[in-house]
Protein backbone atom coordinates (compact mmCIF):
# COMPACT_ATOMS: atom_id res chain seq x y z
CA UNK A 1 0.00 0.00 0.00
CA UNK A 2 2.98 2.34 0.47
CA UNK A 3 5.24 3.58 -2.31
CA UNK A 4 8.88 2.51 -2.44
CA UNK A 5 9.91 6.00 -1.34
CA UNK A 6 7.69 5.80 1.73
CA UNK A 7 9.15 2.41 2.61
CA UNK A 8 12.65 3.75 2.09
CA UNK A 9 12.10 6.70 4.43
CA UNK A 10 10.29 4.44 6.88
CA UNK A 11 13.03 1.84 7.06
CA UNK A 12 15.94 4.29 6.84
CA UNK A 13 14.57 7.47 8.34
CA UNK A 14 16.76 10.54 7.76
CA UNK A 15 17.47 12.97 10.60
CA UNK A 16 15.95 10.91 13.36
CA UNK A 17 16.92 11.94 16.91
CA UNK A 18 17.21 15.16 18.86
CA UNK A 19 19.36 18.25 18.67
CA UNK A 20 20.79 18.98 22.13
CA UNK A 21 20.91 22.77 21.79
CA UNK A 22 17.85 23.09 19.54
CA UNK A 23 16.45 26.62 19.42
CA UNK A 24 13.07 25.61 18.02
CA UNK A 25 11.05 22.58 19.16
CA UNK A 26 7.52 21.70 18.10
CA UNK A 27 5.34 18.80 19.23
CA UNK A 28 2.04 18.04 17.57
CA UNK A 29 -0.38 15.16 17.82
CA UNK A 30 -3.32 13.74 15.98
CA UNK A 31 -6.07 13.29 18.53
CA UNK A 32 -7.90 10.79 16.34
CA UNK A 33 -5.24 8.19 15.70
CA UNK A 34 -3.14 9.19 18.71
CA UNK A 35 0.14 9.75 16.90
CA UNK A 36 2.74 12.28 18.00
CA UNK A 37 5.54 14.06 16.18
CA UNK A 38 8.30 16.27 17.58
CA UNK A 39 10.68 18.40 15.50
CA UNK A 40 13.94 19.95 16.67
CA UNK A 41 15.47 22.89 14.77
CA UNK A 42 18.83 24.56 14.91
CA UNK A 43 18.42 27.97 13.32
CA UNK A 44 21.33 30.28 12.47
CA UNK A 45 20.95 33.59 10.63
CA UNK A 46 17.41 32.74 9.60
CA UNK A 47 18.48 29.42 8.08
CA UNK A 48 17.62 25.96 9.38
CA UNK A 49 21.10 24.50 9.65
CA UNK A 50 20.00 21.31 11.34
CA UNK A 51 16.73 19.51 11.92
CA UNK A 52 15.84 16.25 13.63
CA UNK A 53 12.64 14.47 14.55
CA UNK A 54 11.10 11.92 16.85
CA UNK A 55 7.82 10.30 15.92
CA UNK A 56 5.41 7.92 17.54
CA UNK A 57 3.19 6.82 14.71
CA UNK A 58 2.48 4.74 11.67
CA UNK A 59 4.72 4.07 8.70
CA UNK A 60 3.44 7.16 6.89
CA UNK A 61 3.99 9.32 9.97
CA UNK A 62 7.62 8.23 10.22
CA UNK A 63 8.24 8.56 6.47
CA UNK A 64 6.66 12.02 6.25
CA UNK A 65 8.65 13.20 9.27
CA UNK A 66 11.81 12.04 7.60
CA UNK A 67 10.93 13.60 4.24
CA UNK A 68 9.84 16.88 5.86
CA UNK A 69 13.18 17.23 7.63
CA UNK A 70 15.00 16.73 4.32
CA UNK A 71 12.82 19.33 2.65
CA UNK A 72 13.48 22.09 5.20
CA UNK A 73 17.13 21.43 5.95
CA UNK A 74 19.23 24.37 4.72
CA UNK A 75 16.12 26.39 3.98
CA UNK A 76 15.03 29.73 5.40
CA UNK A 77 12.38 30.01 8.08
CA UNK A 78 10.09 31.54 5.51
CA UNK A 79 10.51 28.56 3.18
CA UNK A 80 9.91 26.17 6.07
CA UNK A 81 6.66 27.93 6.90
CA UNK A 82 5.59 27.42 3.31
CA UNK A 83 6.04 23.66 3.49
CA UNK A 84 2.74 21.90 2.84
CA UNK A 85 1.64 18.38 3.58
CA UNK A 86 0.81 17.95 -0.09
CA UNK A 87 4.38 18.73 -1.06
CA UNK A 88 5.66 16.21 1.49
CA UNK A 89 3.26 13.54 0.23
CA UNK A 90 4.19 14.25 -3.39
CA UNK A 91 7.88 14.01 -2.59
CA UNK A 92 7.14 10.52 -1.25
CA UNK A 93 5.37 9.55 -4.51
CA UNK A 94 2.00 9.84 -2.81
CA UNK A 95 0.25 8.38 0.21
CA UNK A 96 -2.88 6.27 0.53
CA UNK A 97 -5.90 8.57 1.11
CA UNK A 98 -6.39 7.41 4.71
CA UNK A 99 -2.78 8.34 5.39
CA UNK A 100 -2.87 11.94 4.15
CA UNK A 101 -3.48 13.17 7.70
CA UNK A 102 -0.10 11.77 8.69
CA UNK A 103 1.59 14.17 6.27
CA UNK A 104 -0.42 16.99 7.81
CA UNK A 105 1.21 16.08 11.11
CA UNK A 106 4.62 16.57 9.50
CA UNK A 107 3.66 19.98 8.14
CA UNK A 108 2.26 21.03 11.50
CA UNK A 109 5.29 19.79 13.40
CA UNK A 110 7.68 21.79 11.20
CA UNK A 111 5.50 24.89 11.52
CA UNK A 112 5.22 24.43 15.30
CA UNK A 113 9.00 24.20 15.63
CA UNK A 114 9.53 27.34 13.52
CA UNK A 115 6.91 29.19 15.55
CA UNK A 116 8.60 28.08 18.75
CA UNK A 117 11.84 29.57 17.45
CA UNK A 118 10.10 32.80 16.45
CA UNK A 119 8.50 33.11 19.87
CA UNK A 120 11.96 33.45 21.34
CA UNK A 121 13.25 35.56 18.45
CA UNK A 122 10.32 37.89 17.74
CA UNK A 123 12.59 40.33 15.88
CA UNK A 124 13.09 37.74 13.12
CA UNK A 125 9.36 37.24 12.74
CA UNK A 126 9.05 40.81 11.41
CA UNK A 127 11.22 39.96 8.40
CA UNK A 128 8.96 37.11 7.28
Amino acid sequence: MYSEKVMDHFSNPRNVGEIPGANGVGTVGNAKCGDIMRMFLKVENGIIVDVKFKTFGCGAAIATSSMATEMVKGKSLKEALQLTNKAVAEALDGLPPVKMHCSLLAEEAIHAAVEDYLKNHPEEAIDL
Binding site: Y2, M7, F10, S11, P13, V16, G17, E18, T27, G29, N30, A31, K32, C33, G34, D35, I36, M37, R38, F53, K54, T55, F56, G57, C58, G59, A61, I62, V98, H101
Partner: protein
Protein backbone atom coordinates in the same frame (compact mmCIF):
# COMPACT_ATOMS: atom_id res chain seq x y z
CA UNK B 1 15.55 -17.93 7.16
CA UNK B 2 12.26 -18.31 5.31
CA UNK B 3 9.43 -15.92 5.96
CA UNK B 4 7.70 -16.50 9.27
CA UNK B 5 3.91 -16.44 9.08
CA UNK B 6 2.30 -15.70 12.42
CA UNK B 7 -1.01 -14.31 11.21
CA UNK B 8 -2.96 -17.56 11.24
CA UNK B 9 -6.01 -15.90 12.82
CA UNK B 10 -6.34 -13.89 9.61
CA UNK B 11 -6.02 -16.92 7.39
CA UNK B 12 -4.04 -20.14 7.13
CA UNK B 13 -2.04 -21.93 4.47
CA UNK B 14 -3.99 -24.70 2.82
CA UNK B 15 -3.20 -28.19 4.12
CA UNK B 16 -1.69 -30.53 1.50
CA UNK B 17 -4.45 -33.05 2.30
CA UNK B 18 -7.11 -30.42 1.59
CA UNK B 19 -5.48 -29.41 -1.67
CA UNK B 20 -5.16 -33.04 -2.75
CA UNK B 21 -8.82 -33.64 -2.02
CA UNK B 22 -9.81 -30.57 -4.03
CA UNK B 23 -7.81 -31.18 -7.19
CA UNK B 24 -10.12 -33.86 -8.69
CA UNK B 25 -13.01 -31.39 -8.29
CA UNK B 26 -11.31 -29.09 -10.77
CA UNK B 27 -10.81 -32.07 -13.10
CA UNK B 28 -12.94 -35.18 -13.47
CA UNK B 29 -15.56 -34.23 -10.88
CA UNK B 30 -16.80 -31.03 -12.44
CA UNK B 31 -20.50 -31.85 -12.30
CA UNK B 32 -23.26 -29.80 -10.77
CA UNK B 33 -24.16 -31.61 -7.56
CA UNK B 34 -27.85 -31.01 -8.28
CA UNK B 35 -27.81 -32.73 -11.70
CA UNK B 36 -29.49 -36.05 -12.07
CA UNK B 37 -26.86 -37.65 -14.35
CA UNK B 38 -23.84 -39.53 -13.13
CA UNK B 39 -21.51 -36.56 -13.67
CA UNK B 40 -23.65 -34.62 -11.22
CA UNK B 41 -24.05 -37.58 -8.89
CA UNK B 42 -20.26 -37.93 -8.60
CA UNK B 43 -20.12 -34.37 -7.31
CA UNK B 44 -23.11 -34.95 -5.02
CA UNK B 45 -21.35 -37.92 -3.48
CA UNK B 46 -18.32 -35.78 -2.57
CA UNK B 47 -20.50 -33.00 -1.17
CA UNK B 48 -22.45 -35.39 1.05
CA UNK B 49 -19.28 -37.11 2.21
CA UNK B 50 -17.94 -33.68 3.16
CA UNK B 51 -21.17 -32.84 4.97
CA UNK B 52 -20.86 -35.99 7.03
CA UNK B 53 -17.24 -35.18 7.95
CA UNK B 54 -18.16 -31.66 9.05
CA UNK B 55 -21.12 -32.98 11.03
CA UNK B 56 -18.90 -35.58 12.75
CA UNK B 57 -16.40 -32.88 13.72
CA UNK B 58 -19.13 -30.91 15.49
CA UNK B 59 -21.14 -33.78 16.95
CA UNK B 60 -24.02 -32.85 14.65
CA UNK B 61 -26.19 -34.68 12.13
CA UNK B 62 -25.30 -34.25 8.41
CA UNK B 63 -28.76 -32.83 7.76
CA UNK B 64 -27.97 -29.95 10.12
CA UNK B 65 -24.96 -28.70 8.11
CA UNK B 66 -25.49 -26.03 5.43
CA UNK B 67 -22.63 -24.92 3.22
CA UNK B 68 -22.03 -21.20 2.78
CA UNK B 69 -19.45 -18.87 1.29
CA UNK B 70 -17.64 -18.37 4.60
CA UNK B 71 -17.83 -17.16 8.17
CA UNK B 72 -19.36 -13.81 7.30
CA UNK B 73 -22.24 -15.35 5.37
CA UNK B 74 -22.85 -17.92 8.11
CA UNK B 75 -23.01 -15.16 10.73
CA UNK B 76 -25.25 -12.96 8.58
CA UNK B 77 -27.58 -15.81 7.76
CA UNK B 78 -27.83 -17.15 11.30
CA UNK B 79 -28.59 -13.77 12.85
CA UNK B 80 -30.80 -12.22 10.20
CA UNK B 81 -32.47 -15.55 9.45
CA UNK B 82 -33.34 -16.24 13.09
CA UNK B 83 -34.34 -12.63 13.76
CA UNK B 84 -36.84 -12.49 10.89
CA UNK B 85 -38.16 -16.02 11.38
CA UNK B 86 -38.97 -15.27 15.02
CA UNK B 87 -40.11 -11.68 14.71
CA UNK B 88 -43.58 -12.48 15.99
CA UNK B 89 -42.14 -13.77 19.26
CA UNK B 90 -40.03 -10.74 20.00
CA UNK B 91 -37.49 -8.26 18.70
CA UNK B 92 -34.63 -8.46 21.18
CA UNK B 93 -31.16 -9.86 20.45
CA UNK B 94 -28.28 -10.29 22.89
CA UNK B 95 -24.67 -10.31 21.71
CA UNK B 96 -21.33 -9.13 23.04
CA UNK B 97 -19.27 -6.03 22.38
CA UNK B 98 -16.27 -8.07 21.19
CA UNK B 99 -17.88 -10.03 18.37
CA UNK B 100 -16.42 -10.04 14.88
CA UNK B 101 -17.79 -7.30 12.63
CA UNK B 102 -19.70 -9.99 10.70
CA UNK B 103 -21.88 -10.26 13.82
CA UNK B 104 -21.71 -6.68 15.11
CA UNK B 105 -22.51 -4.97 11.82
CA UNK B 106 -25.31 -7.45 11.18
CA UNK B 107 -26.82 -6.61 14.57
CA UNK B 108 -26.41 -2.88 13.91
CA UNK B 109 -28.24 -3.31 10.62
CA UNK B 110 -31.03 -5.21 12.38
CA UNK B 111 -31.39 -2.29 14.80
CA UNK B 112 -32.26 -0.16 11.78
CA UNK B 113 -34.93 -2.74 10.89
CA UNK B 114 -36.61 -2.32 14.26
CA UNK B 115 -34.83 -4.95 16.34
CA UNK B 116 -33.30 -4.13 19.69
CA UNK B 117 -29.83 -5.33 20.48
CA UNK B 118 -27.99 -5.57 23.79
CA UNK B 119 -24.20 -5.54 23.40
CA UNK B 120 -22.86 -7.14 26.56
CA UNK B 121 -19.64 -5.77 28.02
CA UNK B 122 -16.75 -8.10 28.82
CA UNK B 123 -14.35 -8.28 31.76
CA UNK B 124 -10.71 -7.19 31.57
CA UNK B 125 -9.78 -10.53 29.98
CA UNK B 126 -12.43 -10.23 27.29
CA UNK B 127 -14.79 -12.74 28.90
CA UNK B 128 -18.56 -12.39 28.79
CA UNK B 129 -20.07 -12.80 32.26
CA UNK B 130 -22.80 -15.43 32.23
CA UNK B 131 -24.81 -13.50 34.81
CA UNK B 132 -24.88 -10.56 32.39
CA UNK B 133 -26.44 -12.81 29.77
CA UNK B 134 -29.07 -13.96 32.22
CA UNK B 135 -29.83 -10.39 33.31
CA UNK B 136 -30.14 -9.10 29.75
CA UNK B 137 -32.90 -11.58 28.84
CA UNK B 138 -36.36 -10.09 28.47
CA UNK B 139 -39.64 -11.61 27.33
CA UNK B 140 -38.79 -10.14 23.92
CA UNK B 141 -35.44 -11.94 23.56
CA UNK B 142 -35.39 -14.24 20.53
CA UNK B 143 -31.68 -14.73 19.91
CA UNK B 144 -28.37 -14.83 21.76
CA UNK B 145 -25.20 -14.68 19.65
CA UNK B 146 -21.88 -15.08 21.44
CA UNK B 147 -18.60 -16.12 19.83
CA UNK B 148 -16.70 -19.22 20.95
CA UNK B 149 -13.27 -17.59 20.87
CA UNK B 150 -12.24 -14.08 20.05
CA UNK B 151 -10.23 -13.54 16.88
CA UNK B 152 -8.06 -10.75 18.29
CA UNK B 153 -7.27 -11.64 21.88
CA UNK B 154 -8.06 -15.36 21.76
CA UNK B 155 -10.28 -15.41 24.86
CA UNK B 156 -12.49 -18.50 24.98
CA UNK B 157 -16.02 -17.73 26.11
CA UNK B 158 -18.09 -19.80 28.56
CA UNK B 159 -20.19 -21.04 25.65
CA UNK B 160 -21.60 -24.17 27.31
CA UNK B 161 -22.88 -22.13 30.27
CA UNK B 162 -24.42 -19.52 28.01
CA UNK B 163 -25.99 -22.36 26.00
CA UNK B 164 -27.55 -23.71 29.16
CA UNK B 165 -29.05 -20.32 29.98
CA UNK B 166 -30.39 -19.91 26.45
CA UNK B 167 -31.91 -23.37 26.54
CA UNK B 168 -33.57 -22.79 29.93
CA UNK B 169 -35.20 -19.67 28.49
CA UNK B 170 -35.97 -21.35 25.14
CA UNK B 171 -34.00 -18.71 23.28
CA UNK B 172 -32.11 -19.53 20.08
CA UNK B 173 -28.37 -19.55 20.67
CA UNK B 174 -25.95 -18.82 17.82
CA UNK B 175 -22.22 -19.20 18.25
CA UNK B 176 -19.61 -17.74 15.90
CA UNK B 177 -17.05 -20.53 16.24
CA UNK B 178 -14.95 -19.43 13.27
CA UNK B 179 -11.80 -19.18 15.39
CA UNK B 180 -12.56 -22.19 17.58
CA UNK B 181 -13.37 -24.90 15.04
CA UNK B 182 -10.26 -26.92 14.32
CA UNK B 183 -8.44 -25.30 17.25
CA UNK B 184 -10.35 -26.50 20.32
CA UNK B 185 -12.96 -29.23 20.87
CA UNK B 186 -16.40 -28.15 19.64
CA UNK B 187 -19.62 -30.05 20.30
CA UNK B 188 -22.99 -28.60 19.44
CA UNK B 189 -24.79 -30.71 22.06
CA UNK B 190 -22.55 -30.15 25.06
CA UNK B 191 -22.48 -26.46 24.10
CA UNK B 192 -26.26 -26.37 23.66
CA UNK B 193 -25.95 -24.26 20.53
CA UNK B 194 -28.74 -24.01 17.99
CA UNK B 195 -26.59 -22.47 15.25
CA UNK B 196 -22.85 -22.41 14.77
CA UNK B 197 -20.69 -20.63 12.15
CA UNK B 198 -17.41 -21.92 10.79
CA UNK B 199 -15.08 -20.92 7.98
CA UNK B 200 -12.76 -23.17 5.98
CA UNK B 201 -9.77 -20.87 5.62
CA UNK B 202 -9.20 -20.60 9.36
CA UNK B 203 -8.22 -24.24 9.72
CA UNK B 204 -6.05 -24.82 6.62
CA UNK B 205 -8.99 -25.21 4.27
CA UNK B 206 -9.73 -23.04 1.23
CA UNK B 207 -11.05 -19.48 1.33
CA UNK B 208 -14.58 -18.52 0.37
CA UNK B 209 -16.29 -21.54 1.88
CA UNK B 210 -17.85 -22.10 5.27
CA UNK B 211 -20.78 -23.75 6.94
CA UNK B 212 -23.65 -22.98 9.24
CA UNK B 213 -24.90 -25.64 11.61
CA UNK B 214 -28.64 -25.28 12.25
CA UNK B 215 -30.13 -27.62 14.83
CA UNK B 216 -33.10 -29.45 13.36
CA UNK B 217 -36.34 -27.77 14.34
CA UNK B 218 -34.82 -24.30 14.70
CA UNK B 219 -36.65 -21.75 12.59
CA UNK B 220 -34.39 -19.72 10.31
CA UNK B 221 -35.36 -17.82 7.17
CA UNK B 222 -33.32 -18.55 4.04
CA UNK B 223 -30.74 -15.89 3.28
CA UNK B 224 -29.87 -16.57 -0.35
CA UNK B 225 -33.03 -17.07 -2.37
CA UNK B 226 -32.99 -18.99 -5.62
CA UNK B 227 -32.52 -22.65 -6.43
CA UNK B 228 -33.39 -25.50 -4.11
CA UNK B 229 -29.83 -26.28 -3.03
CA UNK B 230 -29.10 -27.04 0.62
CA UNK B 231 -32.61 -28.35 1.13
CA UNK B 232 -34.17 -25.14 -0.10
CA UNK B 233 -32.44 -23.06 2.57
CA UNK B 234 -29.45 -21.74 0.67
CA UNK B 235 -29.54 -21.26 -3.09
CA UNK B 236 -26.54 -21.37 -5.43
CA UNK B 237 -24.68 -24.22 -7.09
CA UNK B 238 -22.46 -25.92 -4.52
CA UNK B 239 -18.80 -24.92 -4.38
CA UNK B 240 -17.71 -28.54 -4.64
CA UNK B 241 -13.92 -28.02 -4.49
CA UNK B 242 -14.29 -25.62 -1.57
CA UNK B 243 -16.63 -27.90 0.36
CA UNK B 244 -14.44 -30.96 -0.21
CA UNK B 245 -11.26 -29.08 0.73
CA UNK B 246 -12.83 -27.65 3.86
CA UNK B 247 -14.00 -31.08 5.02
CA UNK B 248 -10.58 -32.64 4.41
CA UNK B 249 -8.91 -29.82 6.35
CA UNK B 250 -11.31 -30.11 9.25
CA UNK B 251 -10.96 -33.87 9.39
CA UNK B 252 -7.20 -33.46 9.67
CA UNK B 253 -7.47 -30.69 12.26
CA UNK B 254 -9.84 -32.69 14.43
CA UNK B 255 -7.67 -35.80 14.22
CA UNK B 256 -4.67 -33.81 15.45
CA UNK B 257 -6.57 -31.51 17.79
CA UNK B 258 -5.14 -32.68 21.09
CA UNK B 259 -1.57 -33.05 19.93
CA UNK B 260 -1.60 -29.69 18.14
CA UNK B 261 -3.28 -28.02 21.07
CA UNK B 262 -0.51 -29.11 23.43
CA UNK B 263 2.24 -28.09 21.02
CA UNK B 264 0.71 -24.72 20.18
CA UNK B 265 -0.01 -23.91 23.80
CA UNK B 266 3.65 -24.54 24.57
CA UNK B 267 4.80 -22.29 21.71
CA UNK B 268 2.21 -19.65 22.62
CA UNK B 269 3.31 -19.53 26.24
CA UNK B 270 6.97 -19.42 25.27
CA UNK B 271 6.26 -16.41 23.07
CA UNK B 272 4.20 -14.66 25.73
CA UNK B 273 6.76 -15.28 28.45
CA UNK B 274 9.64 -14.27 26.21
CA UNK B 275 7.97 -11.01 25.22
CA UNK B 276 6.80 -10.03 28.70
CA UNK B 277 10.17 -10.87 30.27
CA UNK B 278 12.48 -9.44 27.66
CA UNK B 279 10.67 -6.30 26.58
CA UNK B 280 9.87 -3.78 29.31
CA UNK B 281 6.46 -2.08 29.43
CA UNK B 282 4.47 -4.85 27.79
CA UNK B 283 1.23 -6.51 28.82
CA UNK B 284 -0.74 -9.55 27.77
CA UNK B 285 -4.17 -8.89 26.30
CA UNK B 286 -6.84 -11.54 26.77
CA UNK B 287 -7.14 -14.36 29.26
CA UNK B 288 -3.90 -16.04 30.38
CA UNK B 289 -5.43 -19.55 30.37
CA UNK B 290 -8.84 -19.50 28.71
CA UNK B 291 -7.32 -18.63 25.37
CA UNK B 292 -6.88 -20.19 21.95
CA UNK B 293 -3.76 -22.38 21.80
CA UNK B 294 -2.31 -20.30 18.96
CA UNK B 295 -3.14 -16.76 20.10
CA UNK B 296 -0.64 -14.24 21.44
CA UNK B 297 -1.79 -10.66 21.87
CA UNK B 298 0.38 -8.17 23.70
CA UNK B 299 0.50 -4.41 24.03
CA UNK B 300 3.94 -2.92 23.67
CA UNK B 301 3.79 0.55 25.14
CA UNK B 302 5.36 3.56 23.40
CA UNK B 303 5.42 1.91 19.99
CA UNK B 304 2.77 2.16 17.32
CA UNK B 305 1.35 -1.05 15.87
CA UNK B 306 1.55 -0.29 12.18
CA UNK B 307 5.19 0.78 12.35
CA UNK B 308 5.87 -2.40 14.32
CA UNK B 309 4.15 -4.58 11.70
CA UNK B 310 6.05 -2.93 8.85
CA UNK B 311 9.37 -3.44 10.63
CA UNK B 312 8.50 -7.05 11.40
CA UNK B 313 7.56 -7.56 7.77
CA UNK B 314 10.90 -6.16 6.65
CA UNK B 315 12.44 -8.77 8.96
CA UNK B 316 10.33 -11.48 7.29
CA UNK B 317 7.71 -11.84 10.03
CA UNK B 318 3.97 -11.52 9.28
CA UNK B 319 1.81 -10.41 12.23
CA UNK B 320 -1.18 -8.19 12.93
CA UNK B 321 -2.20 -5.29 15.18
CA UNK B 322 -5.31 -3.60 16.54
CA UNK B 323 -3.70 -0.17 16.25
CA UNK B 324 -5.81 2.75 15.04
CA UNK B 325 -3.26 3.39 12.31
CA UNK B 326 -3.78 -0.05 10.76
CA UNK B 327 -7.55 0.39 10.53
CA UNK B 328 -9.03 2.38 7.70
CA UNK B 329 -11.29 4.13 10.18
CA UNK B 330 -8.42 5.26 12.46
CA UNK B 331 -10.27 3.76 15.40
CA UNK B 332 -8.38 1.30 17.53
CA UNK B 333 -9.76 -2.23 17.78
CA UNK B 334 -13.20 -2.39 19.42
CA UNK B 335 -12.08 -5.52 21.25
CA UNK B 336 -9.09 -3.83 22.88
CA UNK B 337 -11.24 -0.87 23.88
CA UNK B 338 -13.90 -3.25 25.28
CA UNK B 339 -11.36 -4.85 27.64
CA UNK B 340 -10.64 -1.37 28.95
CA UNK B 341 -7.37 -0.52 27.24
CA UNK B 342 -6.73 3.21 26.82
CA UNK B 343 -6.17 4.27 23.20
CA UNK B 344 -2.43 4.55 23.60
CA UNK B 345 -2.12 1.00 24.94
CA UNK B 346 -4.32 -0.38 22.15
CA UNK B 347 -2.02 1.52 19.79
CA UNK B 348 0.94 -0.74 20.52
CA UNK B 349 -0.95 -4.01 20.23
CA UNK B 350 0.62 -6.95 18.45
CA UNK B 351 -1.11 -10.20 17.58
CA UNK B 352 0.99 -13.24 16.72
CA UNK B 353 -1.25 -16.16 15.81
CA UNK B 354 0.20 -19.62 15.41
CA UNK B 355 -0.94 -22.76 13.62
CA UNK B 356 0.48 -26.23 13.24
CA UNK B 357 2.85 -25.02 10.52
CA UNK B 358 4.80 -22.84 12.97
CA UNK B 359 7.94 -24.17 14.63
CA UNK B 360 9.85 -23.50 17.83
CA UNK B 361 12.75 -22.11 15.75
CA UNK B 362 10.35 -19.50 14.40
CA UNK B 363 9.24 -18.59 17.91
CA UNK B 364 12.89 -18.21 18.94
CA UNK B 365 13.59 -16.04 15.91
CA UNK B 366 10.66 -13.75 16.72
CA UNK B 367 11.87 -13.48 20.30
CA UNK B 368 15.27 -12.45 18.96
CA UNK B 369 14.05 -9.93 16.39
CA UNK B 370 11.15 -8.30 18.22
CA UNK B 371 13.06 -6.71 21.13
CA UNK B 372 15.48 -5.08 18.66
CA UNK B 373 12.65 -3.62 16.59
CA UNK B 374 10.88 -2.37 19.71
CA UNK B 375 13.96 -0.62 20.99
CA UNK B 376 14.59 0.99 17.59
CA UNK B 377 11.04 2.31 17.46
CA UNK B 378 11.13 3.46 21.06
CA UNK B 379 14.40 5.29 20.43
CA UNK B 380 12.52 7.39 17.88
CA UNK B 381 9.39 7.84 19.97
CA UNK B 382 8.83 11.21 21.69
CA UNK B 383 6.32 9.45 23.91
CA UNK B 384 9.00 7.15 25.26
CA UNK B 385 11.35 10.08 25.94
CA UNK B 386 8.68 11.86 27.90
CA UNK B 387 7.77 8.71 29.76
CA UNK B 388 11.41 8.24 30.76
CA UNK B 389 11.39 11.84 32.02
CA UNK B 390 8.27 11.19 34.05
CA UNK B 391 5.93 13.06 31.74
CA UNK B 392 2.80 11.61 30.26
CA UNK B 393 2.44 12.59 26.67
CA UNK B 394 -0.77 11.98 24.79
CA UNK B 395 -2.00 13.45 21.58
CA UNK B 396 -4.97 15.08 23.26
Amino acid sequence: MDRIYMDNAATTAIAPEALAAMLPCFGQVYGNASSIHSTGRDARKLVEEARRKIADALGAKPGEIYFTSGGSESDNWAIKGAAFANRRKGNHIITSSIEHHAVLHTCQWLEKQGFEVTYLPVDEYGMVRTEDVEKAITDQTILISIMAANNEIGTIQPVAEIGKIAKAHKIIFHCDAVQAVGAVPVNVDSWNVDMLSLSGHKFHGPKGVGALYIRSGVKVEPFLHGGAQERGKRASTENVPGIVGMAAALEKAVNNLEENGIRLTYLRDKLIKGILENIPYTRLNGHPLQRLPGNVNVSILYVEGEALLLRLDLAGIAASSGSACTSGSLDPSHVLLAIGLPHEVAHGSLRLSLSDVNTEEEVDEVLKVLPRIVSTLRSMSPMYDDFLQGKNLTAK
